[in-house]
């Protein structure tokens, strides 16, 4: 496999050390620059498969956002993962106006989760996007359900709640994951002329719980998803009609992932860290990823 390379634009490279090691283990090289200007100079000489651009640094924020806009305008521009501290207007504009589809949240002063970032990078670089297992450590316990009706959905959600309760003592997190499962399944089953079924999975590796639905239709529209996600940034703009289910999932999980192969498959994944308190869960910055199989648009 030819060498793959990621360009990181961040002020504090020491916070990316763990990620660089993880990517190296997968055969992905990482180059690092500290400013948007240095990134432009670097890109005149070198090639990269992906950019990781940290928007949480206030001093460089506008310049890096402009760098993302430039790259997104070019047909051969870098695909980008943004590291973000807050869900604000600047990020909203990058998503709505430039189609930024991947951001990873981290609290100011803390590094982004290297495992979460490494999974995101590998999926984008290798175009291998499907699978709940990517979000869980090896040996994770998993459970699966096939759901064809609202009655089966309710039973499956109760099973998800019971599963989650075994791995954490935060009732609200278990409730939230059961509700997220409900929204994911309802999104597959609802408003279609044909009889549909959803594959629902839940798994836990002791640190994270991940839930996913998968269907063979691939009819979730990526642009609609991005529009709904930006509406989720602020509770006062919560959609009262269409998109309320996506809004609920986004609010109830820490990492919200949508994998799309139009016409063939849709997978929706939610991930929660169950080792921390509910308050820590509430404070954690949100991450969102929309992955589209190459050549499938």
């Amino acid at each position: 496999m030819p060498s793959r390379r990621v360009l990181m634009v961040a002020s504090e490279p020491e916070r990316l050390t763990a990620l660089i090691h993880l990517l190296g283990a997968s055969g992905i090289e990482a180059a690092h620059v500290q400013t948007a200007a240095a990134a432009r100079s670097w890109l005149r000489i070198h090639r990269a498969d992906l950019g990781i651009i940290d928007l949480a640094d206030a001093r460089e924020r506008d310049a890096r956002a402009e760098l993302i806009r430039e790259q997104k305008e070019r047909t051969s521009g870098l695909d980008v993962v943004a590291l973000v501290g807050e869900l604000d207007d600047s990020l909203r504009r990058l998503i709505r106006e430039r189609g930024l589809a991947n951001f990873v949240g981290h609290r100011p002063g803390e590094a982004a989760d290297p495992l979460e970032l490494a999974v995101t990078v590998r999926k984008l670089v290798d175009d291998d996007i499907f699978g709940l297992d990517k979000y869980l450590a090896a040996g994770a316990e998993t459970q699966g359900f096939v759901v064809r009706s609202l009655r089966e959905r309710d039973q499956a959600c109760d099973e998800v709640r019971a599963f989650c309760s075994r791995f954490g003592n935060h009732e609200l997190v278990s409730d939230g994951l059961a509700t997220a499962a409900d929204e994911m399944v309802s999104n597959v089953l609802g408003h279609h002329d044909d009889q549909r079924e959803a594959s629902l999975s839940v798994g836990c590796d002791g640190r994270r719980i991940a839930i996913a639905t998968r269907d063979p239709h691939g009819d979730l529209d990526g642009e609609t998803v991005l529009r709904c996600i930006t509406a989720c940034f602020d509770a006062s703009t919560a959609p009262r009609e269409g998109g309320l289910g996506l809004f609920a999932i986004f609010r109830l999980v820490q990492q919200f992932v949508i994998n799309l192969e139009p016409g063939r498959a849709t997978e929706v994944i939610g991930v929660v860290d169950v080792t921390r308190s509910f308050q820590a869960f509430s404070r954690k910055a949100k991450s969102f990823n929309l992955f589209r199989r190459r050549g499938s648009d």
């Binding site: 309710d154 509700t179 703009t237 308190s277």
Partner: protein
């Protein structure tokens, strides 16, 4: 969703049992509400977005002469109130269950909190070890009680 009409020392109260989802009929609940109406939500155990839409319909259609008092609201209901604009409408939350965490043994518990004392510093003891329990949620967003009571 089942509705149970019971009478206690303060008058009539409607108890809701079950899932707040697409099967919830806001008209059935609205028909039970008049004057100062109390609804006990403790046994509502699952709320999805279809149920939220139905609930919003109820809030939008609430006649002005009805004062709706919500009692024993589950934490998941309070979460929705903090997420969704207009979720409480003109309703007032009198009490709710809030997540607390023991700082000594890390045990979590849902504690019934009255509106009047929610934001006051109150010592809560863990049933398991006697340690001090602290609110395991963001106070500023979790305690979203709606209109001031007394109307």
């Amino acid at each position: 969703m089942e509705l149970e009409i019971v009478r206690d020392e303060l008058g009539v109260i409607v108890r809701m049992h079950g899932r707040l989802d697409e099967q919830f009929d806001p008209a059935a609940l609205a028909a039970q509400l008049s004057g100062k109406a109390r609804v006990d939500l403790e046994r509502v155990r699952h709320i999805n977005s279809a149920g939220v839409r139905r609930w919003l319909e109820l809030m939008d259609a609430l006649p002005p002469e009805v004062t709706l008092i919500l009692e024993r609201c589950p934490a998941a209901f309070m979460q929705q109130a903090s997420f969704i604009r207009g979720f409480l409408g003109r309703a007032q939350v009198a009490s709710c269950f809030a997540p607390y965490l023991c700082s000594a043994c890390d045990r979590g518990a849902m504690v019934l909190v009255e509106r009047a004392t929610a934001r006051k510093p109150t010592m809560r003891r863990c049933d398991t070890c006697g340690g001090s329990m602290e609110l395991d949620a963001l106070e500023e967003t979790f305690f979203c009680f709606g209109d001031e009571p007394g109307g």
